[in-house]
């Protein structure tokens, strides 16, 4: 328990070890540690950046998909509209065409009726003349009685 030269010896060796540590141990170790810390921080930062970029890309992709969907539905509805139009047009055309056909048929029919009536008229007049001839048992001048006959025919 005596205080002796060991005290000074210990102080000297302490100083020497600290000096050694200060020169050869601390600076390289702490330098490496700091550098590694910086590298790790950098890595983390770039990872963060990457994650952000990915998020942005995902957002963009989502946007694109939404746009595409909207466009597609627009196109579909346009097509539907167009097809409806076409059907409508076709209907219209068909109706017009049928009307036309009907009208021409009607005209032909009218024509037929008129000509038939005309023929019938002729027939009736001759039948009437014949009938009159038979009734009168004598020759009647068709020409003299034409006005009478015409009146008769107009009444048919």
């Amino acid at each position: 328990m005596n205080i002796n030269l060991t005290l000074i010896g210990q102080a000297i060796s302490f100083a020497m070890f600290v000096a050694f540590c200060m020169k050869f141990v601390w600076p390289p170790l702490i330098g490496a540690l700091r550098e590694r810390q910086a590298t790790i921080a950098e890595g983390l930062a770039s990872a963060e950046k990457g994650a952000q970029a990915q998020e942005a890309a995902e957002e963009e992709a989502k946007q694109l998909i939404t746009d595409a969907k909207t466009q597609a539905s627009e196109i579909v509805s346009q097509a539907q509209r167009r097809s409806n139009e076409i059907v409508e047009e076709a209907k219209q055309t068909a109706v017009t065409e049928s009307d036309k056909v009907k009208a021409s048929a009607q005209a032909a029919l009218d024509q037929e009726v008129v000509s038939t009536r005309e023929a019938l008229r002729g027939e009736v007049s001759s039948v009437a003349v014949t009938a009159a001839e038979k009734i009168l048992k004598r020759e009647v001048d068709a020409n003299a009685h034409a006005s009478v006959l015409d009146d008769l025919i107009a009444k048919i």
């Binding site: 328990m1 030269l5 005290l7 060796s13 601390w26």
Partner: protein, 284 residues
């Protein structure tokens, strides 16, 4: 080594033997040599040196330097493995502690704290070697009569370190604050007055209080470490007096508890050194 009936040493002799350093110094009759027993060592006074303390302390200090030098050589920014990782973790821990507690700027504080932490830890670690292993081996094969293998149980070693820290405190105190500032810190606190005459009376009182506070720092620093390790060592020696079959029942729990003590004491010494030097660096 438990006491054996007959030719073995008595308990008192055994304990005294284990608490005696291998002291080499100047005998009262003038010749230099090894002291045999505590009395002769005491007679040598200051002109003596504890060879065992110095040997183990320098050996362990060199071991620390070698280990960390190798770690420093291999240090790079890659992923550290195993042993390298341990060294770097210790350095990082010391560095973090300094960042928390030391606000000045100094190239010395890092290496100083690292040396203190690891060196004191290694010296304390010697306490966990069973108390008789190394002294017996040295006595048998080296003929060395005394051997204390835990340098920190020698008050010279702990005080040598704490006084070095004290010298640094004074040095940085004067360097940072100037001689005037340093003296003012000793004499103008804690009592001060605007009246010049009252101040003159207060100066001796302040000086007394501050000098006690200042001196108590290295004393408590060195004696705390010494006391803890000395007490621990003594308990191990007392346990070694038990019959050999029973020793493990006490020595194992005490050693496990001591693992905490040796780490804690090394940390406290380092922490207080940082705090004291921080105080020396701070401007008021």
């Amino acid at each position: 080594m438990a006491t054996e009936s007959g030719h073995g040493p008595t308990s008192t002799e055994y304990i005294q033997h284990h608490l005696s350093n291998l002291t080499w110094g100047k005998h009262p009759d003038g010749h230099w040599g090894i002291a045999h027993g505590a009395e002769e060592a005491a007679q040598m006074g200051f002109m003596a040196i504890n060879l065992d303390s110095m040997f183990w302390s320098i050996l362990l200090g060199s071991l620390f330097c070698f280990i960390f030098w190798r770690a420093a050589k291999k240090a790079n920014t890659g992923v550290p493995t195993g042993f390298q990782n341990v060294c770097e973790s210790i350095v990082e821990f010391v560095d973090d502690t300094i960042k928390d507690s030391f606000h000045g700027k100094s190239d010395l504080i890092g290496p100083l704290a690292l040396t203190i932490a690891v060196w004191i830890f290694l010296m304390n670690l010697m306490d966990l070697i069973p108390v008789d292993f190394l002294p017996e081996a040295m006595l048998r094969w080296g003929g060395i009569p005394y051997q204390r293998v835990v340098p920190t149980t020698d008050v010279n070693v702990t005080m040598g370190m704490s006084l070095s820290v004290f010298a640094l405190m004074i040095f940085y105190g004067i360097k940072i604050k100037g001689t005037k500032g340093f003296m003012a810190e000793l004499t103008m606190h804690p009592f001060s007055s605007d009246n010049k005459i009252v101040q003159a009376i207060l100066i001796p009182i302040n000086f007394f209080l501050e000098i006690v506070a200042l001196i108590s720092k290295p004393l408590s620093l060195g004696l705390r470490l010494f006391g803890n390790l000395y007490a621990g060592e003594l308990i191990f020696i007392l346990i070694a007096l038990l019959p050999w079959g029973l020793q493990w029942m006490l020595s194992v729990p005490w050693a496990i508890f001591h693992i905490l003590v040796i780490v804690l004491q090394a940390f406290i010494f380092m922490m207080l050194t940082i705090v004291y030097l921080n105080m020396a660096h701070e401007q008021h």
